[in-house]
């Protein structure tokens, strides 16, 4: 083809098709189709491929095809004519023994039929079973590729199974771990529940007989008042019982702390009143040991109510002061308070700081680090003179932390210690919540009290205690009996145990309230050994009005009855609008102090000494009354000081506390409060002095 001069591109000639197709030699046929055969019109084998010969060693040219194979597909007779008509079909020739199976096609060539194809095999093993090798197949034959593919797929499937098994194993492992975790959680919860149940039960079980001990000792103290040695033994037993009760409370708090169940119950309270109550309780203990207890800075406390758990704050301060007194042999114990407004926050708040400092034995440096751990004692060996299980500081620390505050200590051995409690409390808008106002005092000479208590000894002791105090008492052993009793008679107050057979105290109370009438307003006081957190709320929610935990002293019992306006003749006061402090001042004479006085002097001298004191006290009270009239705070303070000092010695602890409070108020320049306490002192003193006079008469005898 000439070039195209204009374009410069050489044209490419279209190739001519060959005049004839390329022919194959026998050798080439063998190489390309090793399993071929050629047959004539009689189905005689004219040529056999080397591979086919290897497959069927007995096959040879000249034999008929039908001597070795049958047509397996299509299902047609094996004739030459049929094969000629099947050149466009896939043919399967099966060996007469069932094997081998040849797959292929036939074409007409040079007056004969040529079959090309190969044996059907689906595995390497199948090839081996036919006696063949892979290189018996032509290179272009896909049979080898098919076999390799099948084997590769098999390996891939095995990989998938391995993955699935590993995944299943991991899932099973995770499931096992999850099941184990769930089981551990259930076990932990069960254990916690069991522990909680155990604590509830053990608290109840210990408190119940301890109440009997308290009650019995209280009654016994009255009985043996004139027998000095017996009185001392009773006092010792009482003190031991109180120690046991404190220990029980600490153990329960510590166990609750350990289980994460030590909580706070915030309520509005007055900080100054709390401090005063702490001072009132601890000052006698300090004095008994010959120590001076200084309370400093009370004026700095906020006058507004604060929101916090006053009971727990008090518990911490009492613990710190108790320890300070315990570990100090001489010198002073001081409680210094300070308060300042917290930096501006969402709500007004106060930062309070309480420092308890002593001149005691101090704490060695190597013990200071663990001082807030449970069971840490300064002298934890057999010779230790100090009592206590060491739980108080651990509990105090935990409580401080719960309040969001901190409790710290600075100390050196032989040079005293200083514990510091710092907490922040919110101001409460309302005044401290007062107790529900009791109904006005009933004017019955002998109020009717219904005691509902299933434990006979406790019931008998309670009744005896009340009867001695001038009450008329009916008793029931369970709630059903109580309902019957209330239906048949009017009562002024009910003392209700909680755990009772047949009908417990909660159900009984709910019934009484539902019945209405006088029962709707009947004061019902729970007297129960259930003292765990939440028990008080449960009783109040059932309709009870107040809550006392066993063991309860006669003093606590009588004070509660008086608070609910149910005072017997022997405990009734004149209508002088007395405060709680005044009521306390008119309480029991401290017979133990008087017994001590007798031991210190001469028992026979006691009546005379008491008479002298009573006369002197009445003079000083007259001086106080006159000073109040003249607004002479200095005289009131001085007279209160002298009266207070003597009152403690002569067995009038409440009068002593009232006088001290009056003196302290003046000392802190709170004249208004001082005058008010002076008036309370005047109101309370006569009954106290009267009681002391009766005691002196009783001691002196006819």
């Amino acid at each position: 083809m000439p070039c195209s001069a204009s374009s410069g591109v050489r044209a490419v000639a279209t190739p001519e098709p060959p005049a004839a197709a390329p022919t194959l030699s026998i050798a080439q046929l063998q190489q390309l189709f090793p399993f071929h055969f050629v047959i004539d019109s009689q189905l005689r084998l004219l040529q056999v491929g080397n591979g086919l010969r290897k497959l069927l060693p007995r096959i040879d040219t000249g034999a008929r095809l039908t001597d070795h194979f049958e047509l397996s597909a299509p299902l047609l007779p094996l004739t030459y004519a049929q094969l000629c008509d099947s050149t466009d079909s896939l043919l399967l020739f099966k060996g007469l023994q069932g094997s081998p199976v040849l797959k292929g096609q036939v074409i007409e060539a040079a007056g004969a039929l040529l079959f090309v194809g190969g044996p059907v095999v689906t595995s390497m093993r199948g090839v081996k079973a036919l006696g063949l090798k892979l290189n018996d197949f032509a290179l272009h034959d896909a049979t080898t590729d098919l076999l390799l593919l099948l084997q590769t797929q098999k390996l891939m499937n095995e990989d998938l199974q391995t993955l699935a098994a590993a995944n299943a194993s991991e899932i099973a492992q995770r499931q096992r771990a999850e099941d184990e975790l769930k089981r551990a959680i259930i076990e932990a919860r069960t254990a916690l529940h069991s522990q909680s149940k155990f604590l509830n039960t053990i608290s109840h079980e210990i408190r119940t007989p301890l109440h009997a001990v308290f009650a019995a000792l209280s009654l016994l103290a009255d009985t043996v008042a004139q027998q000095a040695e017996a009185a001392e033994l009773v006092a010792t037993a009482q003190q031991a019982s109180e120690t046991l009760l404190d220990l029980l409370a600490n153990i329960l708090d510590f166990a609750g702390m350990d289980a994460g169940r030590l909580g706070l119950e915030p309520e509005p309270f007055a900080a100054d009143a709390l401090l005063e109550s702490v001072r009132a309780l601890m000052e006698p203990r300090a004095r008994d040991k010959g120590l001076a207890l200084q309370v400093i800075g009370a004026r700095q406390l906020p006058t507004k109510a604060l929101l916090g758990d006053a009971r727990r704050v008090r518990q911490i301060l009492l613990n710190l002061l108790d320890n300070a007194i315990k570990f100090t042999e001489r010198g002073t114990v001081s409680l210094t308070t300070s308060a300042r407004r917290a930096p501006d926050g969402a709500a007004p708040a106060w930062q309070l700081r309480f420092e308890v400092e002593d001149t005691g034995i101090g704490i060695a440096a190597d013990r200071l680090a663990g001082i807030f751990d449970g069971f840490a004692l300064i002298d934890a060996d057999y010779s230790r003179p100090h009592d206590g299980a060491g739980l108080g500081l651990a509990i105090a620390k935990r409580l401080a932390t719960l309040m969001g505050g901190q409790l710290s200590v600075a100390s050196s051995e032989h040079h005293g210690s200083r514990f510091c409690l710092e907490i922040e409390l919110l101001e409460h808008e309302q005044a401290p919540a007062a107790a529900v106002a009791p109904p006005p005092p009933r004017r019955s000479d002998s109020p009717n009290i219904l005691v509902v208590e299933d434990v006979e000894v406790n019931r008998r002791l309670l009744c005896s205690m009340l009867e001695r105090s001038g009450y008329r008492v009916d008793e029931c052993a369970d709630g059903l009996e109580a309902l019957e009793a209330i239906a048949g008679r009017d009562y002024d107050l009910v003392l209700m145990d909680v755990s009772m057979p047949r009908m417990d105290g909660l159900a009984t109370t709910r019934c009484i309230r539902e019945l209405g009438g006088s029962g709707a307003r009947l004061p019902i006081i729970a007297l129960t050994a259930h003292a765990m957190r939440g028990d008080r709320e449960t009783c109040l929610a059932a309709g009870m009005d107040d809550y006392l935990t066993k063991p309860v002293t006669s003093q606590q019992l009588l004070q509660t009855l008086e608070r609910w306006g149910v005072a017997a003749r022997s405990a009734q006061q004149e209508d002088t609008n007395m405060s709680e402090t005044q009521q306390e001042a008119a309480a029991l004479v401290d017979r133990a102090a008087l017994e001590q006085l007798g031991r210190d002097t001469d028992p026979a001298m006691v009546p005379e000494l008491l008479a002298v004191f009573v006369a002197d006290a009445r003079e000083r009270l007259a001086g106080i009354e006159a000073a109040i009239g003249h607004a002479d705070g200095t005289t009131v303070q001085n007279q209160a000081h002298t009266l207070g000092s003597s009152a403690g010695t002569f067995g009038l602890p409440a009068l002593h506390q009232l006088a001290r409070a009056c003196e302290e108020a003046f000392r802190l320049d709170d004249a208004e409060r001082g005058m008010a306490l002076g008036r309370q002192l005047l109101a309370a003193a006569p009954a106290a002095l009267e009681a002391l006079s009766r005691y002196a008469d009783a001691v002196q005898g006819p």
């Binding site: 595995s123 390497m124 093993r125 090839v127 081996k128 063949l132 090798k133 892979l134 290189n135 290179l139 080898t144 590729d145 390799l148 593919l149 084997q151 590769t152 390996l155 891939m156 095995e158 990989d159 391995t162 993955l163």
Partner: protein, 183 residues
């Protein structure tokens, strides 16, 4: 490389030196301790395993590769059935089929980068084997492969790497004796 190679290394080390030795080796190479045979892994894993094995077992890399080549024959045969029973009747026949084998397997495993082989100067007891590969440094493994095939046919084989024969591929002179038991 496909996981089968790494799995073969694992088996070889475990069978020869124990599971602990293998786990230490895998840790040194920062490699997994097991592999999926038909999954593709970076070549670096295989090289790291060989290097770690060399360091851990105190065996030169070339010696390690040669041992592995021989071990590979049995390992691959186990996974591909009676492969070597069907691939040739003798040592030379099987070696002659190596190229076809690798080509066909390469069809099955698309990410496989198999080597190529060809024979020249063949007579009744020797030939030159030409080895072409995209990966460098695996010539000792070829020697091991040939030794393994020879062991399979109970045929003593001698292989010499003709390092200077060609600049672009490796050439080996392979000589073999009669099969044991043959006349």
């Amino acid at each position: 490389m496909y996981g089968m190679i790494n799995e073969a290394i694992r088996r070889m080390v475990t069978e020869g030196h124990g599971v602990a030795a293998w786990e230490a080796l895998a840790a040194r190479a920062s490699c997994p301790t097991s592999f999926l045979r038909m999954s593709q892994y970076p070549d670096a894993i295989t090289y790291d395993l060989v290097a770690a094995a060399s360091a851990g077992l105190g065996t030169p890399v070339s010696e390690l590769l040669e041992s592995f080549g021989s071990y590979w024959i049995d390992f691959a045969s186990e996974h591909y059935g009676e492969l070597f029973d069907l691939w040739g009747d003798s040592f030379p026949d099987t070696v002659a089929n190596l190229n076809a084998l690798h080509t066909r397997i390469g069809q099955m495993l698309p990410e496989l980068q198999p080597p190529s082989f060809s024979l020249s100067e063949r007579d009744g007891h020797s030939f030159l084997l030409h080895y072409y590969s995209r990966r460098a440094g695996l010539e000792p493994m070829v020697i091991g492969l040939l030794q393994g095939i020879g062991r399979h046919f109970a045929t003593a084989v001698e292989v010499a790497w003709l390092r200077d024969h060609s600049p672009d591929h490796a050439v080996f002179r392979v000589q073999w004796g009669p099969r044991s038991g043959d006349a």
